[in-house]
Symmetry: C2
Subunit: 378 residues, 2 copies
Amino acid sequence: MRSAPALLFYADTHSSRDLLYFGRFECHDPFIALRHEGKKIAVLNALEFGRGLKESGFDQILALEPLLAEVRPAGSGPRPTPAEIIALLAAKLRIRRLLVPEEFPAGLLERLRALHLDVTVAIGPVLPEREIKDAREAGAIRAGNRVAAAGFAAAEALLRRAKTSGRKLLLDGTPLTSERVRLAIEIACLEAGGLALDTIVAGGDQACDPHCRGTGPLRPGELIIIDIFPRHAATGYHGDMTRTYLKGRASAEQRALVEAVAAAQRAARKVLRGGAISAAVHAECVKVFEARGYQTKSTPKGAVGFFHGTGHGLGLAVHEAPRVSAPVKEPLKTGAVVTVEPGLYYPGLGGCRIEDVAWLTDTGHKLLSKHPYAWEIA
Amino acid sequence: MRSAPALLFYADTHSSRDLLYFGRFECHDPFIALRHEGKKIAVLNALEFGRGLKESGFDQILALEPLLAEVRPAGSGPRPTPAEIIALLAAKLRIRRLLVPEEFPAGLLERLRALHLDVTVAIGPVLPEREIKDAREAGAIRAGNRVAAAGFAAAEALLRRAKTSGRKLLLDGTPLTSERVRLAIEIACLEAGGLALDTIVAGGDQACDPHCRGTGPLRPGELIIIDIFPRHAATGYHGDMTRTYLKGRASAEQRALVEAVAAAQRAARKVLRGGAISAAVHAECVKVFEARGYQTKSTPKGAVGFFHGTGHGLGLAVHEAPRVSAPVKEPLKTGAVVTVEPGLYYPGLGGCRIEDVAWLTDTGHKLLSKHPYAWEIA
């Protein structure tokens, strides 16, 4: 029987969340890591070595510098490349075959093969276990959502303090913009121990483009989507929540839209558990929208209605496995953490999305997000 | 004569600063981009298409959805892969050969080759012109450093307000920590229009490990290194500056250390220009330190003295080409932007680093950073 290939990473943990998951160690410069015969091994330079010993989840940490000297003494030629170090390690550890993730750098792959190493590129995830969260991870995601909730509280405070003046909102005499609300959210998140990047604060028709972050003055009587997905600084795990607001009094159509989205979220949550088919959870949202007459269709100016998935996995990345959407016919796994975020978007009327986070059990799920749903702000 | 290969990217612009430079367009999901016969071409999905047309520097933007349908109509099989889309594009555009960067994903490389595309992995940078900054870029880096300066002002305000109480610093009755100073810096940077990640606020012996971000109480009479490298939100370019502080009165040894680092920075700046040999600029710092008796050496607990390079290129990434350091015997290029950041580190005495940013001209350089050097805070 051939032994299993050793799993090889060469990345920084900003680019590879798999490597962060694997070693539980943040490192912003690329480094070599291996899984060999069940052991997790990292090669760290002198700047990172001590921190790695103290903080990381690696079973063994090798110092880079002696390996460099073993390949080629300093001064006797160019500095050894990562490929040469990996080849030395493979020889020392008697590794016959290597498996690398799909995102592994192509240049290094070619150099390893030029050194006659037997390297296979994986198809699909190399750490599928990352999809299943344990209690520690669920707690970290809950902490990420607490950070998000601090952001919503800050946004609500600004909207409450703002005064309506014609078609504008004024705060302390100047227009309340997406940018000002975003800044207040980002500061509140920092103070709560997290980092909110690319927060969405989008009002009116801007909110109908789910990738638009929002810019310029916010208006009274418009639906405003706020989507906050901060990274919890202490653990690296993300929260991800969305609330929709309106300053002033909503119209009947706006109220019906928001109620439909809330109802869709409740319907999805009713069937959301480990073992539920992903597409079936999504279909619950679609059913609610269709029953209430909200059509989803393409128009020359883009899609309207409910044209994105119901949710996605959440963890060390904001988007990770699994997806909760129509094309996915597989069951969701117990222990997965997913967002539940139906939305409706109609230019002219506006957009609404409500997003919470669920940790799946065999019989249902536990919510990992908590913040009120009150949305009309007087 | 064979025509030049088309340059192919498949990345998000968080992971690939080259792609961000190439298209001047932020996109957080991976997308296909090509340079073919001098034209910059991107393939964007419906969510990004409109923004790409409006904001990006691409000459041509192709909609992804019609290409997907051309490969395989929806419902008639699995969703087409990026490799299949690239193969379709290559056929349409009559591209015979492709060149991909070293960081290109290995899995996609293999799939392209399985589709019989002729793909070469580049050795070295695919966009070497990125090293040379034009006036727009220099202005953006200067704006990044203005954000950093706002961070220093916030840190200084806290240190000024802090009261010495025995071996502690108290602010509003509780210990002043690295974490509190970092939070104040991060908030000030956000308010100034930038995002400061991983800011270093390290006092005492912590500052002697240049990768230590700093943690716990700051102490009176200790050197405190603060290194801020924010991303200017409007442009994506970074600032990168370091100042060293001390709350209270410095000892003669501390004063001599700080003066030596300042003198080394001045010496390096005297010779810093386009055409200067990188190693020779670094050697100016080394000369100053040696003349003043500051030894650099390895100890069982790590290196002491001046054990890092004098500087690095700065732009869309915090670290990019060129390096200003001993092993680099090539001349620096006019138009490059580099940091100048000598430092000295001696556990027991403390660490000092002073960092500014220079844009190289044929005869010298223009400073792109500006903040006072006053460091003893009463």
